[in-house]
């Protein structure tokens, strides 16, 4: 009995492969469709990752500076830093002394000699500050609250309100909102492409099986079991999925190698193609695995669903 099952299993695989070769044209057409859709999915995943990277870079540039009064001691500043670090929304806090502030300012305005001279004559007018990097620029309410706490206001420079204020506050909020929307749009785009691809692949396999429905009913009439009839179709569809997955990954790879400079130019600088390239190659095995998994699961699932209706027995 066990021996028979083994023979049957071997036959299912062999028939699947034979059918794959005999239906070469149908296979080629189905694989072409699957390759295109899988490529689109892969492309959208890479694009979304690149987009997220760009957003990260923008977000990393957003920080809040709290300017300290000259009378505030280093100890008091340290206490403030400790308190800030306990806030969950704070990623990093650094202290910039008056001298460091001057050095940064001087470096930034090295060509403006008149300004340099003016500063040298007045002594150091720049305040010390705390540079606060938020975890997520769209969630900085608690940092704002900390700044407005009367206990802290006493230590802050009354001439220089924190950088999260007025026009700057509006700009930070706007960027934070925009990046959030873009990130969500990326997730939605990947999901939409994935669903459309699944439907297209399902439809393609269903058509391929519809073409051979007579075969299914004949096998049924001869007394073949469900798995014996369905097995080869599942094997064949999995073959489509595996081959299409490899082709889609190879296609993207070649695209990066052949024309990364052309892409860089055509993307108008909206996307960091170098990052896409790096991302693709550093996640190569993961992406290949993802493509294979999608191809195999959709291929097998579609063929199981598509064969079901031709294998039913009459119940009335």
């Amino acid at each position: 009995m066990r021996h028979r099952k083994l023979i049957t299993f071997g036959r299912i695989i062999k028939t699947g492969l034979t059918n794959f070769l005999r239906n070469a044209w149908l296979a080629a057409a189905a694989m072409a469709v699957m390759t295109v859709t899988l490529t689109i999915v892969l492309f959208s995943v890479i694009t979304s990752a690149t987009f997220n990277n760009t957003i990260e870079q923008i977000n990393a540039k957003i920080n809040v500076s709290i300017y300290l009064a000259d009378s505030t001691t280093l100890d008091q500043a340290n206490v403030m830093m400790q308190q800030l670090r306990t806030l969950p929304e704070v990623k990093q806090v650094s202290y910039i002394s008056k001298d460091q502030a001057l050095a940064i300012f001087t470096a930034g305005n090295s060509t403006n000699l008149a300004l340099q001279q003016a500063i040298n004559q007045t002594g150091n007018p720049l305040p010390a500050s705390l540079k606060v990097m938020p975890q997520d620029p769209s969630h900085i309410a608690s940092i704002e609250k900390f700044i407005k706490d009367p206990k802290n206001v006493a230590l802050e420079d009354p001439q220089n309100p924190s950088s999260y204020h007025g026009d700057q506050k509006a700009a930070v909020d706007k960027i934070a909102h925009a990046t959030n929307v873009m990130r969500q749009a990326g997730v939605v785009a990947v999901a939409v492409f994935a669903v459309i691809s699944m439907l297209i692949i399902f439809n393609t396999i269903q058509m391929a099986i519809f073409n051979r429905r007579d075969e299914l009913t004949i096998m049924r009439l001869l007394g073949a079991s469900t798995s014996f009839i369905r097995g080869p179709f599942v094997v064949e569809s999995i073959m489509y999925g595996v081959i299409s997955a490899f082709i889609s990954v190879a296609f993207i790879d070649v695209l990066f190698i052949a024309s990364s400079s052309a892409l860089q130019a055509s993307s108008l600088g909206l996307l960091d193609i170098n990052y896409s390239n790096t991302y693709f190659h550093s996640h190569f095995w993961m992406l290949l695995g993802m493509q294979l998994a999608v191809g195999i699961i959709i291929g097998a699932g579609s063929s199981i669903m598509a064969t079901r209706r031709y294998l039913k027995f009459k119940t009335k």
């Binding site: 075969e215 096998m219 009439l221 001869l222």
Partner: protein
């Protein structure tokens, strides 16, 4: 034990249509050769489709080879069909497989080993005179050849019952007789044969039991078809 037992079987397609078969009872002994005649639409094909469990009777009892169809579960239907050989009027060959593979398929279904299959198939192809055409595809064969492939496929498992639905319907007289001769040969080896036909010549010359169906009823059941007029 009877090979085929139909007890007051009625089959109605749709709710209010006239029944395709109306309270039909039929007993067939093992090793019998029964010819079923009747005009198109009389209910012959429905009768055969009930026996292969392609259709389910609306009411009535069917027992074939000891299997009571009322108690038959869906997953046991393939097992039942493996015991019945069927030859269809439209052949129903697998289009993408060679002659050899079409016949071998019937044995693959039951899990027979490849070595045994390679030994068995040629013997059956001998019986239907198709040696040398093992590698042909169905579309390369004539109608008579295709029908003989279908017969080879139906008998290769040595079924207890062979059902042949107008196997000569698409054939010229010479090929028709080739097919009938094969059926007689199988019957001689002990297989119960149920044959439907329109062919007067065949009915007369076979001299077998003949059952006539008209408008869903069995209207006559004669022991010999020698004098029978369609």
């Amino acid at each position: 034990m009877l090979m085929i037992l139909l007890d007051r079987v009625t089959k109605t397609y749709g709710k209010h249509a006239t029944p395709a078969l109306d309270r039909v009872s039929l007993h067939v002994e093992p090793k019998e050769f029964v010819i079923v005649v009747g005009q198109s639409g009389a209910g012959k094909t429905t009768l055969l489709r009930l026996l292969t469990r392609e259709e389910k009777p609306t009411t009535g009892k069917i027992i074939v080879g000891g299997v009571d169809y009322d108690k038959l579960k869906d997953h046991d239907i393939p097992l039942l069909r493996r015991k019945i050989g069927v030859v269809f009027q439209d052949f129903k060959l697998l289009p993408n497989r060679t002659v050899f593979e079409n016949v071998a398929f019937a044995l693959e279904i039951v899990g027979m080993g490849s070595y045994e299959i390679r030994n068995t198939v040629p013997k059956v192809l001998d019986i239907v005179n198709l040696r040398g055409k093992e590698k042909r595809m169905p579309f390369e064969l004539s109608g008579g050849e295709r029908q003989r492939v279908a017969i080879a496929r139906a008998i290769v498992r040595q079924p207890k019952i062979l059902i042949a639905d107008e196997p000569t319907g698409n054939l010229d007289p010479k090929h028709a007789w080739d097919v009938i001769n094969v059926l007689e040969k199988i019957n001689k080896y002990g297989t119960t044969v149920l044959l439907t036909t329109h062919n007067q010549d065949i009915v007369t010359k076979l001299k077998r039991r003949v059952v006539t169906i008209q408008h869903g009823h069995i209207v006559s059941d004669k022991a010999s078809s020698a004098e029978y007029k369609l």
